[in-house]
């Protein structure tokens, strides 16, 4: 499947041609979903590695950890004696806290590493940092880094420990995609056949890349909605549709997934102004009325209220943004348990 481009005007048409040229130059498509039955899985680096069976196994297990989280004493002894380290080279609130809480609810020990107070400040390399941490005898490392591919590198350097990708550059954020799938399934019962619009800064978004893989693996159809400057330079191999008009997509979609405008990653003038972005691509109150009743509003956070989503819309009953965060803990418990405790092949 390739991207079908519906260009509303000449500008977009030009961009579409540029995209076509880029395609010829850069043959690197979005990762292909694994269909092979994988062997024992040590790491979670990409949604693509999991395949449909792996994703569904994690969602199935998440139901059980959601039940654990709802107990008066939300803790099970499954990972007693294991140690999980979060190695975050980039700022994070929810992913890091969520992983730590997940590990604690499984009775694992947690250690937290933040660059600003570590020997990285003295010039210690990534590799030495990883080897030092592993030498202390840890079982899993959750890595976040601003460069794509760092979790793969770290996985090459570790021997016994599991590596979990907590977000690498613009590339992937697998546990976010898993919790998004879980949230949609929880609210709508399934993903198969749903129409999902992912709106906003697709170009800089690792969430978008992992979500596209996971949503389509489970049978949903995905439409990307963004100004041409905020789309990736190539959409070859992406199993998605593209639209430049949010109003056209909203009435027919079951889920609208808004992305944060990542101003910290924008090195060039990709937008005339934030206000113009909000005027054309923001989910304002007026646009939110176009949504069919029951359509879900999602956002990976942190939310720029008043930019990609109006404050009132973010608080509507069909907005499941806080539910996503709550489910994040159960999904990460499920991932940690599968990696460290179950002894089971993820694809089995």
């Amino acid at each position: 499947m390739t991207a079908t481009v519906r260009a509303p005007d000449d500008v977009a048409q030009d961009v579409a041609e540029d995209v076509a040229e880029d395609v010829a130059e850069s043959p690197v498509p979005i990762a292909r979903l694994s269909t092979a039955k994988p062997g024992k899985r040590q790491h979670l680096l990409s949604v693509a590695d999991l395949g449909r069976d792996g994703i569904e196994e994690i969602l199935r297990l998440t139901d059980m950890f959601a039940e654990v989280s709802a107990r008066p004493i939300p803790r099970v002894p499954a990972l007693r004696g294991k140690t999980v380290v979060s190695l975050f080279f980039e700022d994070s609130t929810r992913t890091r806290l969520s992983f730590e809480m997940a590990a604690k609810r499984l009775s694992a020990d947690t250690m937290s590493f933040s660059v600003s107070t570590s020997s990285v400040k003295k010039g210690e390399s990534l590799r030495d940092t990883v080897e030092t941490i592993e030498a202390m005898g840890i079982d899993a490392i959750v890595v976040r880094h601003s460069a794509a591919g760092v979790p793969w590198q770290v996985a090459n350097w570790t021997e016994g420990a599991s590596v979990i990708n907590g977000g690498d550059g613009w590339h992937e954020h697998p546990t976010q995609a898993l919790l998004d799938c879980y949230t949609i399934r929880q609210q709508r019962g399934r993903l198969d056949g749903l129409r999902i619009a992912i709106v906003g800064d697709i170009r800089h978004s690792r969430v978008a890349r992992s979500d596209v893989l996971a949503f389509t693996a489970l049978g949903a159809s995905v439409t990307l909605v963004a100004p041409p400057t905020l789309l990736p330079s190539t959409l070859v191999g992406w199993p998605v549709d593209v639209s430049y008009r949010l109003e056209e997509v909203l009435p027919s979609c079951d889920v609208v997934y808004l992305l944060r405008l990542q101003r910290e990653r924008m090195q060039e003038a990709l937008l005339p102004s934030l206000r113009e972005y909000t005027a054309t691509y923001g989910l304002t109150r007026q646009r939110a009325r176009l949504l069919s009743p029951g359509a879900l509003i999602m956002h990976p956070g942190p939310v720029n209220r008043g930019v990609e989503i109006a404050a009132e819309v973010a608080d509507q009953p069909n907005s499941v943004i806080t539910r996503q965060v709550r489910n994040g803990v159960a999904v990460r418990m499920s991932v940690l348990y599968l990696m460290l405790g179950s002894g089971v092949d993820l694809g089995a």
């Binding site: 059980m64 008066p72 499954a78 002894g343």
Partner: protein, 189 residues
């Protein structure tokens, strides 16, 4: 039953070959009725009694036991289900995956909990269940009801209500269902 368990324990993916039918469907029904009577007798009625089936084999058995108690006493006691995978002491030694989410319908504090399972073997599942239960409240008492006690205990655990005591070899397998109890072997595929 236990398809998944056979897939996850040695010999992995083995096939169950039935050898001896130990109880027929009527025997199972009569044993269930007797245990229902015993539960009522021991607890002087059904007040504060909660049946909790262990996933997966104990869950349908708990349902039938509750029906039998209902027929005898006219009271439907609360039924729950418990998956003890996260409490097992062999996590890391063999693949351990839960089958279904635990469902405990009432606060267990002050209740008399009857744990229900199909087969009692090493006692390790029951040990895990006792730990799990304590996370749901402080039960007044915990009792254990099993359809088959096949011996080979590795922990100081004994059942309160037994359908049948069945001496077995360690490597044999006992299959319990509504259709009866069958003793057999697991052959590598």
């Amino acid at each position: 039953m236990a398809e998944r368990e056979r897939a996850l324990t040695p010999p992995y993916g083995g096939v169950f070959v039935p050898r001896t039918k130990v109880m027929d469907p009527d025997d199972v029904k009569r044993a269930t009725w007797r245990m229902a009577h015993e539960i009522i007798e021991r607890n002087h009625g059904t007040e504060a009694v909660v049946l909790i089936g262990l996933q997966t084999g104990g869950v349908p058995f708990a349902g039938r036991l509750a029906e039998a108690i209902d027929s005898v006493s006219g009271v439907m006691v609360p039924i729950g289900s418990l998956d003890v995978a996260f409490y097992r002491d062999d996590i890391g030694l063999r693949p351990v995956l839960p089958e279904a989410a635990t469902h405990i319908p009432v606060d267990l504090t002050g209740k008399t909990v009857v744990l229900v399972d199909d087969v009692l073997f090493t006692g390790r599942t029951v040990r895990a269940a006792l730990n799990a239960l304590s996370d749901y409240g402080r039960a007044r008492a915990v009792q254990l009801s099993v359809m088959v006690d096949r011996g080979h205990r590795e922990l100081p655990i004994r059942p309160d209500y037994v359908g049948k005591n069945l001496p077995t070899r360690r490597d044999e397998m006992v299959d319990v269902s509504e259709e009866g109890v069958v003793l057999g072997d697991v052959m590598p595929r």
